[in-house]
């Protein structure tokens, strides 16, 4: 009996120990998982209040990539590119804006230099979990070309002589200036697959692609997924003004020989920054118009509204008869912008635009509302009649009539009107509490 009791007790203890060890093992697994999650992401990208976000987080990712690159080679000097035997280096004083991929991967481009010349760009990327980074040469495309051009312009105005490189030991720290690259926008998947620089082979090594271990930079807790802040219309329009491709299109339209034609002309722009002639409908006796591609890839359009022109007929006294087109956006123009907004899925509409070039001035409409503000259906007969009558019958300027029609008749929210002058001044036009037009300068 005693023996049985002792055996039972022993078995109970053994079973208890077994249970405890299983529980401990479970906890260990959980604990290890937690450690894995925490250690997998980069400390440098942990949050905007980290030591790396030295300027209020405005260059958070740019500074993060720079610091990872520099600290890796500080820890692994034997792997560092041989700066003395070639003039190739990365200029960490300038970087692109942050570009967002479809999977929320963040990309930043830095200029890749040979001496004082921008030879190419280096792409840096980090995935949405902030646990995988890459440094590489991207495949050459229009966006890369735009970046090279933008960096070249910036470096020409402030050349850095050899020996003034920054960041490495014995060199001054790098202050980063953001250079806006034309073409890419927040919701566009940048085409930045790894590739070979065009025209030369720099044989340049980068820090390893992968996790935070080799960088000795683990410890980020994953953090809150970063939501890009939409850029203001003023900033977008300022960038657009600085875009040489866009300016060339405006200049090609903004001249008497074009505005005096009897047909509208214009361009659409896709999200890669490529402009395409708006298709002119086949000329018939009665119909005339431009076709704007209704595509998720369309970013905006530029078109002309014509000067007064003769109809080709005269009255019985021989007076030529004149038509005066409405040199302001129409409900159909607003409709077109809204249709483009309907394709956006991430809530950032800031890159979309509709531009009108006319002798009355050049204007751009932007959509600053939310998905709930997207209203279409303004292109048919009813709206044409309403608008044509409104413009003809109401008193006041075209700006005032357009803004009042938007508010009182179309009842749309989030369409903003901007006048862009040839000297680059941008004015927001809106209605004040007295229903009169108010002009506000965009910050320079």
């Amino acid at each position: 009996m005693k023996k049985t009791l002792f055996l039972t007790l022993l078995l109970s203890i053994a079973f208890g120990l077994l249970l405890y060890s299983c529980r401990t093992e479970d906890e260990a697994v959980v604990s290890e998982n937690r450690n894995n999650t925490e250690s997998a992401s980069f400390q440098v990208f942990k949050d905007h209040s980290s030591q790396y976000a030295r300027r209020g987080g405005s260059m958070f990712y740019q500074e993060g990539f720079r610091d990872l690159y520099l600290s890796y080679y500080k820890d692994h000097p034997e792997e560092a590119p041989d700066a003395d035997s070639s003039d190739f280096h990365i200029d960490f004083r300038r970087a692109s804006q942050v570009l967002y991929g479809a999977d929320s991967t963040r990309y930043v481009l830095f200029p890749f230099m040979k001496g004082n010349e921008v030879k190419y760009v280096v792409a840096c990327s980090v995935n949405n979990n902030h646990d995988y980074v890459s440094f590489y040469f991207p495949e050459r495309n229009k966006m890369v070309d735009n970046a090279i051009t933008a960096f070249s312009l910036a470096s020409r105005s402030n050349a850095m002589s050899r020996g003034e490189r920054c960041g490495f030991e014995g060199e001054p720290p790098c202050e980063i200036e953001e250079i806006t690259i034309n073409g890419p926008t927040n919701e566009v998947t940048p085409t930045l697959s790894p590739g070979t620089p065009y025209g030369f082979d720099p044989d340049y090594q980068f820090p390893p692609s992968g996790g935070c271990g080799p960088y000795n930079n683990c410890g980020g807790g994953g953090g809150t997924p970063y939501q890009p802040t939409p850029i203001t219309p003023c900033q977008r329009l300022k960038d657009q003004n600085a875009n040489t491709d866009y300016q060339a299109k405006i200049e090609s339209l903004d001249k008497n020989s074009v505005l005096s034609q009897k047909k509208e002309t214009g361009y659409s722009e896709n999200k890669s920054g490529t402009f395409t002639d708006l298709e002119q409908s086949e000329s018939t006796d009665a119909s005339d118009g431009l076709q704007v591609p209704d595509s998720p890839d369309t970013k905006g359009y530029i078109h002309t509204h014509l000067n007064d022109y003769e109809t080709g007929n005269t009255d019985a006294n021989g007076n030529p008869e004149i038509k005066s087109p409405i040199r302001m956006f129409s409900p159909a123009d607003v409709n077109t912008l809204m249709v483009l907004a309907g394709h956006i899925t991430n809530g950032d509409y800031s890159h979309l635009y509709g531009t009108m070039v006319s002798s009355y001035g050049n204007y751009t409409i932007k959509f600053t509302g939310t998905a709930a503000d997207i209203k279409t259906g303004f292109k048919g007969e009813t709206w044409r009649k309403k608008y044509a009558k409104y413009i003809e019958k109401e008193n006041g300027t075209l700006e005032a009539k357009f803004l009042r029609f938007l508010k009182d008749e179309m009842n749309v929210q989030g369409i903003e009107l901007y006048k862009i002058k040839s000297n680059g001044t941008i004015k927001k036009k809106s209605l004040n509490s007295n229903n009169n037009v108010q002009s506000d300068d965009c910050p320079q």
């Binding site: 509208e264 006796d285 119909s287 007929n313 009255d315 019985a316 009558k389 006041g396 075209l398």
Partner: protein, 190 residues
């Protein structure tokens, strides 16, 4: 004396602020400017009674179609900041087989598709909006003949500011023909 001057100034300031009336001919001059009709103007009148010559029913044929126009004169018309003396037009069009292809005789005047604007020299300028999916919208110039006020000419001038966003909006866009002729047609008063 001082009081008289003060009264004069006050009256003058009132007159500057006063709501004013312009003619249909002046309205044309303002329409050429992008600044439009001044906000002080609240009425455009047919001061010279030139609209009356068009009032009535007019018939004519063009391109194998027969046209019948009904012009009506309205005074102080519309719910706009400016009240207008203007014509409104109603149209019946039949094809060569006598089939009615357009008829807006019963269209409410507030939604009218054919309305008058202003006088440009001898012609009264109207506006017609038809199938706007195919961008049919344009000015219509009407003018009675100096030699015979019971006849007038009419033609349509297509607007050039349309945008199309999809092929399906107007599948036959390239071959679309507007309802009203681009060349002058002659109409006879009934």
């Amino acid at each position: 004396m001082k009081n008289i001057i003060l009264t004069f100034i006050i009256l003058l300031s009132f007159s500057c602020k006063a709501q004013s009336t312009i003619s249909l001919e002046q309205a044309y001059e303002y329409s050429k400017s992008d600044d439009g009709i001044p906000e002080t103007v609240t009425s455009v009148k047919d001061i010279n009674n030139r609209l009356n010559q068009f009032v009535g029913i007019w018939k004519g044929t063009y391109g194998g179609k027969s046209y019948e126009f009904h012009f009506e004169k309205k005074l102080n018309f519309g719910n706009y900041s400016v009240k207008w003396d203007q014509l409104i037009g109603r149209i019946i069009v039949k094809n060569s087989s006598g089939v009615i292809i357009y008829n807006n005789l019963s269209e409410p005047e507030e939604d009218i598709s054919f309305w008058g604007k202003n006088f440009q020299h001898r012609s009264y300028v109207m506006h017609f909006v038809g199938n706007y999916d195919c961008l049919e919208s344009g000015d219509v110039f009407i003018e009675t003949l100096p030699s015979n006020p019971n006849q007038m000419t009419l033609y349509y001038s297509q607007d050039k500011d349309g945008l199309i966003t999809s092929q399906s909006q107007c599948p036959n866009f390239s071959t679309f023909v507007s309802l009203l002729p681009k060349d002058k047609m002659t109409l006879t008063k009934q």
